[in-house]
C-alpha cells in the first residue's frame, strides 16, 4: 500500500467503487428526462394532432417512460431499467387513483364554501323559492343527525351483539344452523340495494302497519343498511383477538360474559369503533331509502316520530333537481356539510379508540 502514490490510490478506490456501485444515471438524469419529455409533448401538441391538456399529459408520461427506460438500459443495464420502469408505473397509478378523490374534495370545498354562512347553517328552506338566494340546511342537518343517530342507536349495539354471538357463542352451540342462517342473512343484507330496503320499510311499516312516514321510518331503513357492515367488521375484529387472552381470563376464574365485556371487547375496541363509524358514514349519505320512507321537507321538524323530515342527502338531491344557479350552489353547500359531518364523526371515533383501547408501552 505504502508504495502507491496518492493518485494511484485514488484511482484504485475509484475502480473499487465502480465495481461495487455499478454505473448509474447522473443525479439530474430523472429531471432531465422529465423536462425533455414535457418539452417534446408540448412540441407535439403544437405541431401534430396531439391536443388538449389530458392528451398532452398522457403523451408526456409515455415519453418520460420511454426516455428514462432506454437511457437507463444503455447506462445502468437491464435490472435498473426495469426497476425504474416499475417505480414510475407505481407512482403513476397511485396518482391516477388519487386524482379523482382530490378532485371531488377540491370541487366540493370550493363550491361549497361559496354558500356556507351562518344563515345557511341556521335556517331552513321554508318560504324560499328555488330561484332565490338564501335559505339554508338547518332542517336537513337536524334530520340527518336524528335519523342517523337513531339508526346508530339500534344498529351498532345490535350489530355488535350479533357479531359476539357469531364469534364467541356459536362455536359452542349444539348445532350450527342458527349461526349459518345469521351469516347468510347478513351476506344477503350486504347485497340488497338501499332503495329496496327503503321500499321494504315503506311496505312493512307504512302500508301494512299504518305508521306515518317520518324520520323514524327512515332510521329503520338506515338501521337495516348499517347492520351488516357493523356485524362483519366487528366479527373480523373479534376474531383477531388472540385466544390466549380469553384463556388467560378464564384461567383467572373470570366468567365468559365478563371476559367478553372486559377483555375481548376493549382489546378489539379500536377496530370495532372504526367499523361502526364507517357504517354510520355509509348510511349518512343514503338518499333513495329516505325518499321512500320520509320524503322531503323544506321546514324544520325536530320530532323524528311525526311528519316528514329533511336530511342532507335528500336536501342535496332536491336542490340539485331544482336546477337554478342558487339551488345548485346550495346543493354543493349541503355536500360540504355532509362530508365535514362524516369527517368529524370519524375523527371523534379515532380519538375515543385511542384513549380506551390497547395500551402501548
Amino acid at each position: 500500500m505504502s508504495e502507491l502514490t496518492r493518485d494511484e490510490r485514488a484511482e484504485s478506490e475509484e475502480l473499487l467503487h465502480r465495481a461495487l456501485a455499478g454505473a448509474r444515471l447522473p443525479r439530474w438524469g430523472i429531471a432531465a428526462a422529465a423536462v425533455g419529455a414535457i418539452a417534446l409533448a408540448i412540441i407535439l401538441n403544437l405541431t401534430t394532432s396531439v391536443a388538449g391538456v389530458a392528451g398532452t399529459v398522457v403523451v408526456a408520461v409515455l415519453l418520460f417512460l420511454a426516455i428514462q427506460t432506454t437511457w437507463s438500459f444503455r447506462v445502468e443495464g437491464r435490472r435498473h431499467a426495469v426497476d425504474r420502469l416499475a417505480t414510475t408505473a407505481v407512482y403513476a397509478t397511485f396518482i391516477v387513483a388519487l386524482a379523482p378523490l382530490v378532485a371531488v374534495l377540491a370541487t366540493v370545498i370550493v363550491k361549497g364554501m361559496s354558500v356556507i354562512s351562518s344563515t345557511f347553517l341556521t335556517t331552513s328552506m321554508r318560504n324560499i323559492s328555488p330561484r332565490s338566494e338564501g335559505g339554508g340546511l338547518y332542517h336537513a342537518l337536524i334530520g340527518t343527525l336524528q335519523q342517523v343517530g337513531i339508526a346508530a342507536m339500534f344498529g351498532v349495539p345490535l350489530g355488535i351483539l350479533t357479531a359476539i354471538y357469531l364469534v364467541e357463542y356459536a362455536p359452542f352451540a349444539k348445532s350450527r344452523r342458527l349461526s349459518r342462517a345469521i351469516s347468510f342473512f347478513v351476506d344477503v343484507m350486504t347485497g340488497v340495494p338501499s332503495v329496496v330496503v327503503g321500499l321494504f320499510i315503506f311496505t312493512a311499516f307504512v302500508l301494512t302497519l299504518g305508521m306515518e312516514r317520518s324520520g323514524f321510518t327512515a332510521s329503520l331503513a338506515l338501521t337495516i343498511l348499517m347492520l351488516p357492515v357493523v356485524v362483519r367488521s366487528t366479527e373480523e375484529m373479534l376474531r383477531i383477538v388472540p385466544r390466549e387472552l380469553r384463556e388467560a381470563s378464564y384461567a383467572l376464574g373470570i366468567p365468559k360474559w365478563r371476559t367478553i365485556l372486559k377483555i375481548v371487547l376493549p382489546t378489539a375496541l379500536g377496530g370495532i369503533v372504526t367499523g361502526a363509524m364507517l357504517a354510520i358514514a355509509r348510511v349518512a349519505g343514503e338518499t333513495a331509502p329516505l325518499l321512500l320512507t320520509t320524503f322531503l321537507s323544506q321546514s324544520i321538524n325536530t320530532n323524528p316520530f311525526k311528519g316528514p323530515q329533511a336530511a342532507l342527502p335528500t336536501f342535496i338531491w332536491d336542490q340539485f333537481t331544482s336546477a337554478t344557479d342558487a339551488s345548485v350552489n346550495r346543493a354543493w353547500g349541503g355536500a360540504l356539510v355532509l362530508i365535514v359531518l362524516v369527517m368529524v364523526l370519524y375523527g371523534a371515533a379515532k380519538i375515543i379508540a385511542r384513549y380506551t383501547g390497547v395500551k402501548r408501552g
Binding site: 362455536p171 359452542f172 388472540p242 390466549e244 387472552l245 380469553r246 384463556e247 388467560a248 381470563s249 378464564y250 384461567a251 383467572l252 376464574g253 373470570i254 366468567p255 365478563r258 371476559t259 372486559k262 377483555i263 376493549p266 382489546t267 375496541l269 383501547g357 390497547v358 395500551k359 402501548r360 408501552g361
Partner: protein
Amino acid sequence: MAKRIDATDVDIYYGAFKAVEGVSFAVEPRSVTAFIGPSGCGKSTVLRALNRMHEVIPGAYVEGKITLDGEDIYGSTIDPVNVRRTIGMVFQRPNPFPTMSIYDNVVAGLRLEGKKRSKSDLDAVVEGSLRGANLWDEVKDRLARPGSGLSGGQQQRLCIARAIAIEPQVLLMDEPCSALDPISTLAIEDLIDQLKERFTIVIVTHNMQQAARVSETTAFFNLAGVGKPGKLVEIAPTDVIFSTPTQQATEDYISGRFG
C-alpha cells in the same frame, strides 16, 4: 391451603380425536410435579383438564374422574369458574392483558370477579403478589404503565403475580420458561421453589434439567405413534425417574435416545 389432586382413568378428547388415554396419577399438596415427554404427547392437554380449561375449546371434553381433595371437579354441581379460581394457571407465552396497566393486570382476577374491594385492599394485593413473583422491585415505580412494555421474563412473572393474586390452592404452569432467556428462567425456577411452600404446583417442561432441579415428582408421558392417544408411562419421585426408571421408554427419553 394447598390441596391434592387425584386423576383416575382420564381420557381427553378434541371432538372425535382422542388425545390422551387412561391417565391416572396423584399430585401431593405443597409439592412440585413435573410433566415431561415428547411434543404432542398430551402434557398440555392433561394439565388443562386439571382446571377445566380444556373445555373452552369448542368440541373438547374430558372423561374419567379428577378430584381436588376428594371433590370431583367435573361433578354436575361444580361451576368451572370456581374450579379455575382454586386452580390457577400460567401459560407458555406470557399473555398480560394489553388494555391494562401492570397494576390492573395483577388485580384483574379480583376486579372482574365482581366483588367491590377497597383501594387499600387492592394495593396490598398488588404489592404482595408482585413480591411473591419477585417482580416488585423492578416495577414498583411504574405500576401505571402498560404490562406489555415489560421484558418477556418480567411479563411472565407478571402473569404469575396475576395468577397468585386470586390466591389459588394449586398452580399449573405450562412450559412457563420456554419463551424466556436463561437468566429469566433461573428467576422463575427460584420463584417456583418459594411458591411450593404455599401452593401445589404442576409444571410442564421440555427441559429435563429443569424438571430435575425444581420437582419432587416427575411424570413421563409418551405417544404410541402418530395419531394415537398419549399415555402416562410412569410417575415416580424425580430422583428415581432420572436414575432408575422402571420403563425402557423413560430411560430412552431421559438419556436422549429419542424425543
